[in-house]
């Protein structure tokens, strides 16, 4: 059985500041990590590998060359294969173009029964890429999966979690799952695997390797949505500043609550 896991490198801290004078974004550090939901996805794939015979796990990511780092991490944790899809012509991709690029990559790999994505990324936070990949590949998807209940020859039974209820759903292969935090505890990269996989080649795929080579379907040109303007969030001008000793400011809080009939 062949599983493809989509993983993404995200900023480790969400502290992107904006210089209100120039409108320039300042990213505080260059610290990056693997998107946490993708760790749940990988762990789920590893658990399936432990449950079943001959499972092959292929981690893929789309990003700049430096994104190879998350692929190495995946290999050291237990993935068998890793591929980066990277090309300057992918720059400025919105969700549609990103999902299309990943679906082209997956088509290129071609051999898969199941694709595993994270529920969402902590930087983009759209939770759209998984379902869009599934649509481009014309396969079903099941979102918010927290548990694998059963794997059969031709399909899988999973538990998905929604706001106020859970669903038990069965779906046939090939399919795509998006993984939410469940009982999985993502494993750490192991020293032993690192020794084995250190020399493993991570393949880089560019636009020239994909089936659809029309550059207008990728990057900015393939993105229906465009950012027209960025601006700092609203402020209110009438906020009342309360300073003083602890006693004084606390008394003020009591007065505000009393004045508004909460005490």
């Amino acid at each position: 059985m062949n599983i493809i896991t989509c993983i993404k490198q995200v900023p480790a801290s969400s502290n992107v500041k904006v210089d209100s004078n120039t409108g320039v974004l300042i990213r505080e550090s260059n610290n990056v990590k693997m998107n946490p939901y993708d760790l749940y996805g990988l762990e789920t794939a590893f658990q399936i590998k432990e449950m079943k015979e001959s499972v092959d796990i292929h981690a893929v990511t789309m990003g700049p060359p430096s994104a190879k780092q998350v692929l190495e991490e995946a290999l050291y944790m237990g993935a068998d294969e890793a591929t980066l899809v990277s090309d300057r012509r992918f720059a400025g991709a919105d969700v549609l173009a990103t999902s299309y690029t990943l679906s082209q990559l997956i088509d290129h790999i071609s051999n898969y029964d199941m694709i595993i994505c994270g529920k969402q990324t902590t930087d983009g936070d759209t939770a759209q890429v998984g379902p869009e990949i599934a649509e481009f590949l014309n396969i079903p998807h099941v979102p918010y999966v927290v548990d694998i209940i059963e794997i059969n020859r031709d399909g899988i039974v999973v538990k998905s979690t929604y706001d106020t209820y859970d669903e038990i759903v069965s779906v046939k292969f090939p399919c795509l799952l998006t993984l939410d935090k469940g009982s999985q505890v993502p494993r750490l990269p192991s020293y032993k695997r690192k020794q084995i996989m250190k020399t493993h080649q991570i393949e880089t795929i560019t636009l020239d390797d994909l089936d659809d080579q029309n550059p207008n379907h990728y990057g900015l040109n393939g993105s229906p949505t465009q950012v027209e303007e960025i601006f700092p969030p609203d402020k209110r001008s009438d906020s009342i500043q309360i300073k003083g000793s602890n006693k004084e400011v606390t008394k003020e809080i009591m007065d505000i609550l009393a004045k508004n009939r909460y005490l």
Binding site: L25, P64, S66, Y162, G219, L220, T225, K235, I240, I242
Partner: protein
């Protein structure tokens, strides 16, 4: 549409450094005196607009333009479960009507299910032009494959300009499927919507994971698709109905799926902060979980719900349903007291419509003060014990 061109002749080490500094996405590589842009580039054009002059240039490329006049109507997808409409649908109808006033377009609702005429009737009460109903036994439970086929059929027939979908968990799984099927853009979790005269929808939401808002549009694709969270907008008042229900045939819509719902398990009810009237929200200022006991007297006195920021969910201190913000719940209580929260834009977008906002923080540069009615400068570890003392005096 276009790309960023670099004028290599003018590039020096200093200018390359400067560009690497201002690029928020680390998209510049300078190797062997050649400056290149890598795949991390988001074409935010900061290098063009704010970078050293004459180095980066945006080259426009023209595309075949669609005729925007051919697409008319704002359609709202009305999500239902067990034949009960989710209220976010009514809120979106309210917003759709507001937008339609500017462009003089009709407002529609789409209802999919089995035995859902009641919902269609209900939708008319909010003053819309038409409700399109797709009924079939196969549509009794939501199924992303079959439902996407329905929306595709609807769009091919009616060529609407905009489709709005509630940003519920189902909506967030459904809308991207529609977007990819119709090869169009989708902006998730918009916090504000506006429209241009030419029908272009302006989709406003926090962006790039930072304290910044972006105005996003879809200049050359239709339909325009957006999801909006529950409670972001107000439901419109019910008025005298004037619209009509159109029952659409479903015979020609393909019904085919390998997804089978085997069981639904209802979780024990947690009181939802969505509808809370009084909220005490706590942030990372709380050093350990047991320190949360400090808020108990106030919580009891106000009969408040407790809510929190995302890091506290990540710590495992709270059920995820208690998180306020863009990736949590939107709340609009009568009173919210924020304790030790920095006010990241993703948090603020989930609570800024609250009627009375009181914030305690010891750092006066925190962003939440900017939107609070009362900004209390102080340390929660000093103020909460003092508050508990004063509350006790009051009780006696």
């Amino acid at each position: 549409m276009g790309y960023i061109k670099i004028n290599q002749k003018k590039v020096t080490q200093d200018l390359a450094d400067e560009l690497q500094d201002i690029c928020p996405f680390n998209a510049f590589d300078y190797v062997d005196q050649y400056l290149s842009i890598n795949a991390a580039c988001k074409v935010c054009k900061i290098c063009v607009n704010k970078g050293p002059e004459g180095i980066c240039e945006f080259i426009e490329e023209t595309q075949v333009q669609i005729n925007k006049k051919d697409y008319k109507g704002i359609a709202v997808y009305i999500e239902q479960k067990d034949n009960q409409a989710h209220k976010v649908g009514w809120e979106l109808i309210g917003k759709a009507k507001e937008l339609a006033l500017k462009t003089e377009e009709p407002v529609y609702a789409i209802v999919i299910g089995n035995d859902v005429m009641k919902i269609a009737e209900e939708a008319l009460n909010y003053g819309i032009d038409k409700v399109f109903v797709y009924q079939n036994k196969a549509y009794r439970n939501f199924n992303v494959e079959n439902y996407t086929n329905v929306i595709e059929a609807f769009y091919r027939k009616y060529k609407v300009n905009i489709i709005l979908v509630g940003g519920t968990m189902l909506g967030r799984s459904f809308a991207p499927r529609i977007a990819a099927r119709l090869r169009t853009g989708l902006t998730a979790d918009c916090t504000k919507l506006d429209i241009k005269e030419n029908g272009d929808l302006l989709q406003i939401r926090p962006a790039f994971g930072g304290n910044i808002m972006a105005k996003i549009h879809t200049p050359n694709n239709r339909p325009q698709l957006a999801t909006i969270r529950y409670k972001m907008f107000d439901a419109p008042p019910k008025i005298k109905r004037f619209g009509e229900i159109v029952e659409e045939p479903t015979d020609d819509i393909i019904i085919k799926t390998t997804i089978e719902l085997l069981d639904t398990i209802h979780q024990p009810k947690v009181k939802d902060i969505n509808d809370a009237e009084i909220i005490i929200a706590v942030g990372r200022a709380f050093k350990k979980q047991s320190d949360l006991d400090l808020i108990k007297p106030l919580q009891k006195r106000l009969n408040a719900e407790i809510a929190c920021t995302r890091p506290l969910i990540e710590n495992g201190w709270f059920d995820p349903r208690k998180q306020i913000g863009l990736s949590g719940r939107t709340v609009k209580p009568k009173l919210i007291i924020n304790l030790g929260i920095s006010g990241a834009v993703q948090y603020i977008e989930g609570m800024k419509e609250s009627e009375l906002i009181i914030t305690v923080n010891h750092d006066s540069s925190n962003k939440l003060f900017d939107i609070s009615h009362y900004a209390i400068h102080g340390d929660i570890y000093d103020i909460l014990p003092e508050l508990n003392k004063q509350l006790e005096v009051l009780e006696q």
